[in-house]
Amino acid sequence: MYPAEFGYERAGSVEHALAVLADGGGEVKVLAGGQSLLPMMKLRLAMPELLVDIGGLAELAAIEVKPERAVLGAVATYRSLQQDPMVGEAFPAMADALAVLADPQVRARGTVGGAVAHADPAADLPAVLLALDAELTVAGRAGTRTVPIDGFLQGVFATDLADDELLTRITLPAAGRGQAYQKFEQPASHLPLAGVCAAVEVAEGVISSARIAVTGVAGRPFRARGAERALAGAAPEADAIRNAAALVREEPVQPLQDQHASGPFRLHLAGVLAGRALQRAVSRAVRP
């Protein structure tokens, strides 16, 4: 567990980090919480020449929850999100996910931006952010740009982020309380074999909108659009939920397959979890 030799530079600012990245010619990795990168380096699966450490940048650690939107700094840790009562209040699905995500040690160091930028296909939080329509702010030397998370996540460990760019913040539009995250763990890693986040709005006795995001099942978290369409306008009841859950299994994705679970089983689990997440989301939505 000894990484290959590497250089280390602590970033004093976003501009500083961007300068280091620009000079590095692709051999620089961004270190935030280090909960994925450092194990990969110790196994010598990653051998960057230089790390630029943004974990200490206070400007990227802030969590700001307002009525119209929330802004999460990229290096806000899971624990800081979990301990912020405003986050749990505004985004119950995020509280669900944080409660079943990794262990206390990892939550103390792992960051929300790291989870997104690393793009592990079996990460919990990206599904929640996808269901909540998160928008990502990306800084580059030429300035900043914003990109919806659905466009950012591209595949297994692959994102829209260029070598010289930095994910700086995640913006969530306000959402109702009708949301929930459900997960079925791979028993060794405790990562989801399937994880589903459902977010529904219920108005005048019908589901006015539904967003369902699935992680662990395909190369990247995906929205179950067929199920979402079927729910729109439906009564928030068991039949509609069962129907939607079945549609989740019909999504045209290439399911992951490994020694822990076959593709069909992962898709099956996604359907089961979608039903459970929708059930909980609806009950939260209609609770007085």
């Binding site: 567990m1 000894y2 030799e5 079925f184 060794a188 020694q259 089983f265 099956h268 089961v272």
Partner: protein, 712 residues
């Protein structure tokens, strides 16, 4: 007696919990060098060339070693004659490698990181060969052959255990109940991986090593290096779990010690977690095809069949004995079964060598017999508890099984009844009927078993030395060697009572050949019997002799047979196939109890490991022989949240074989809970037409089986 039998908290824990343990990796000495092992990345390959030039020239490197540099080192302790090939130390050009992780070369440098860097510069040219990893497939005539000159292909031994008249029993049987059952390959995963720090000083050698057998290591090193045992000191220090895997001495450890001697400098090597999955012995890896002959009234008349036992690529000293001398003779378990005929086939394959792993043959035997007994219950329509009752050996103080095992004492009916009473069995069955009516998948399973312990591998037995210090306090030095069991506490209790001194005034010393008298170490649930007997005998000798110190040797009357009955209640989620264990009732009869807290600790730890085998652990390999489970991300050791609460109770049938009346019980949790869980899950699935599934009972396996049944 005042303190023996009391739940005295472990004296060990305060220091360990405070991080004050002294494990091998906590140690350093001046001028220390660090080793890194270059391992085979192939399951099976011929080495065409090894070039260490670049590695030798790398910064900080003190030496790079292959088999060519260690020709003077004698062979590792091998398996009994005629059972299979022993492990080599390292490899050289023209040698073959036979499993992923086999040690090829050793790099020694002035820091662990530099040793790891230089190891990447060792150039080994491999010519890959076809590989085989499954023991049954490896025994097939068309399998790639690992070694020349074995019995047939990869079959390294083939023995038969027979007693009684099996043919007549099967001819007379009303029912025949057979099943192929796999006890899958497991990794022990001790919290502390293996390690060694070798410190040569002229002709003398001090080795600090995480081992269960310090005196054994001293004898082996003396033999391998051709130096007197008196010139070798072996210190175990604190050892973070062994589960059998820290019993053998390994090629990588010996290579490190040999390198230290060649360099004339101290060298340390600490196994990485990923290495541990490849290089530390695995357990189990058996495929049993067994059949029971059963009379019309549910009496088990005979067991027959074949067990294929994977040995890994080479044989460690105890691998063959696990199946030949542990598993097979224990097939009668708690039952009066008069006829046995099993063929035991040892098979080498391109896998990590097998070694003893918690239970070492005992859990396999209990699993096969207790699964079959539940299948007998299903076949005859009798309640599983009733089948057991009809077949138990009556209460006894001496019973010889037809396989030649001499049980010292036992009351198996009382143990079962205690488990049923603690569980509220009749009410559980009623609850099951209600649950089934609601469409819930609710199952109850049990396992009754025996556990041989207190094994004395040689003569003389383990020793203990008890010394009255000038201060009036007492030091007990003993030849067994704890690695988590709590001997400091238990043996201090024994000495305190025997000498009439306060418990706090007794210090227990072990695990250092310079400080402790001879002993075989700690494995196979032997230490309470062997070490405990030695301690009380030494105390008696001290009182009788009137001096300041006395040494005594354990003389015990033989192997003790603890017994137990474990009962589990499970519920399966029909939507996902996931098993939830609702209750575990563990009833153990280990004779007299020195410290109930230590017994409970053994039960809890054993249950955790048994849950692992039943539900989630499995060492896997792909078609090329590459391991698919060589990290904690992929190998599912149960986490705290995955281990159920354990309700314990005890029955006490003292052993007549030792003065304490104790019986070894260190593996009971692992032996008892695994079949109980599987029986419970199968009880839940029976209504879906599922007869048997192999472990681990993963959600997908169960879900798939239910789907199949629903489609019928």
């Amino acid at each position: 007696m005042t303190i023996v039998g009391k739940a005295v908290p472990r004296s060990e824990d305060a220091a360990l919990a405070a991080g004050q343990g002294q494990f091998v990796d906590d140690l350093t000495v001046p001028g220390l060098l660090h080793a890194h092992v270059v391992r085979s990345p192939h399951a099976h390959a011929r080495i065409t060339a090894i070039d260490v030039t670049a590695a030798r020239a790398a910064p900080g490197v003190a030496g790079v070693f292959t088999a060519d540099d260690m020709r003077d080192v004698g062979p590792l302790p091998g398996p009994p004659d005629g059972t299979g090939p022993a492990l080599p130390l390292l490899r050289a050009a023209d040698d073959r490698v036979r499993w992923v992780g086999e040690p090829v070369a050793l790099v020694v440098a002035d820091s662990p990181a530099r040793a790891a860097d230089a190891a990447e510069l060792v150039e080994v040219d491999y010519q890959p060969l076809p590989a085989v990893t499954d023991p049954v497939r490896a025994a097939a005539p068309d399998a790639p052959v690992l070694h020349e000159g074995l019995l047939a292909g990869n079959v390294c031994f083939r023995r038969r255990l027979t007693c009684g008249d099996v043919a007549a029993a099967f001819a007379a049987a009303r029912y025949r109940v057979g099943q192929r059952m796999v006890s899958q390959r497991l990794a022990p995963v001790a919290l502390e991986p293996r390690g060694v720090l070798a410190e040569p000083a002229g002709d003398r050698l001090h080795v600090r090593i995480g081992t269960q057998r310090p005196h054994g290591v001293r004898a082996w090193l003396s033999q391998m290096f051709g130096i007197p045992a008196g010139a070798v000191r072996v210190t175990a220090g604190d050892v973070g779990g062994g589960f059998g895997a820290k019993g053998p001495l390994y090629p990588d450890q010996v290579a490190v010690i040999a390198a230290a001697r060649l360099l004339g400098r101290p060298v340390k090597w600490i196994e990485e977690r990923g290495e541990s999955f490849l290089a530390t012995t695995h357990g189990r890896d058996q495929v049993a095809d067994l059949e029971m002959a059963v009379s019309a009234d549910g009496r088990i008349l005979a067991i027959r069949g074949t067990v294929h036992a994977g040995m890994g690529a080479y044989l460690t000293p105890n691998a063959a004995s696990t199946v030949l001398n542990r598993m097979a003779p224990l097939l009668p378990q708690t039952y009066d079964i008069g006829s046995i005929d099993v063929e035991l086939v040892g098979v080498v394959a391109n896998t990590t060598p097998i070694g003893p792993y918690r239970g070492a043959g005992r859990p396999e035997a209990a699993y096969y017999t207790e699964r079959l007994v539940d299948l007998v219950a299903a076949e005859t329509g009798l309640d599983p508890a009733e089948v057991r009752r009809r077949n138990f050996i009556p209460p006894h103080t001496g019973h010889r099984t037809c396989t030649g095992q001499v049980y010292d004492s036992g009351n198996y009916r009382a143990v079962l009844d205690a488990a049923l009473a603690a569980a509220g069995y009749d009410e559980l069955r009623r609850e099951q009927q209600r649950a089934l009516a609601q469409g819930r998948m609710y199952g109850i399973g049990m396992c009754c078993f025996v556990e041989p312990g207190g094994i004395m591998p040689g003569d003389p037995g383990d020793q203990a030395t008890v010394t009255r210090e000038p201060s009036g306090k007492v030091t007990v030095a003993v030849g067994t060697s704890a690695h988590g069991q709590g001997h400091r506490t238990a043996f201090a209790q024994l000495a305190a009572d025997a000498l009439g001194v306060p418990f706090e005034d007794v210090t227990v010393v072990f695990g250092d050949t310079a400080a402790a008298p001879f002993g075989y170490g700690t494995f196979g649930s032997r230490s309470a019997v062997a070490g405990g007997t030695a301690v009380v005998r030494a105390c008696a000798a001290l009182l009788a002799g009137g001096g300041t110190s006395a040494t005594a040797t354990a003389e015990t009357g033989g192997v003790t047979f603890a017994s137990g009955c474990y009962l589990c209640v499970v519920e399966v989620d029909p939507d996902t196939g996931r098993v939830r264990i609702d209750r575990v009732i563990a009833v153990d009869d280990c004779g007299r109890v020195i410290n109930p807290l230590l017994v409970e600790g053994q039960v809890h730890g054993g249950v955790a490991q048994g849950v692992g085998q039943a539900l989630q652990e499995r060492v896997g390999y792909n078609a090329d022989g590459q391991p698919t489970s060589a990290s904690l991300l992929d190998y599912a050791v149960p986490a705290a949240t995955q281990v159920p609460f354990v309700e314990t109770a005890r029955v006490e049938t003292p052993s007549p074989l030792n003065p304490l009346g104790v019986k070894g019980m260190g593996e009971s949790g692992t032996i008892g809970v695994t079949p109980a869980i599987v029986n419970a899950v199968m009880d839940a699935l029976r209504r879906y037409g599922v007869r048997h599934l192999d472990m681990p009972l993963t959600a997908e396996k169960i879900w798939t089986a239910i789907q199949g049944a629903r489609q019928v």
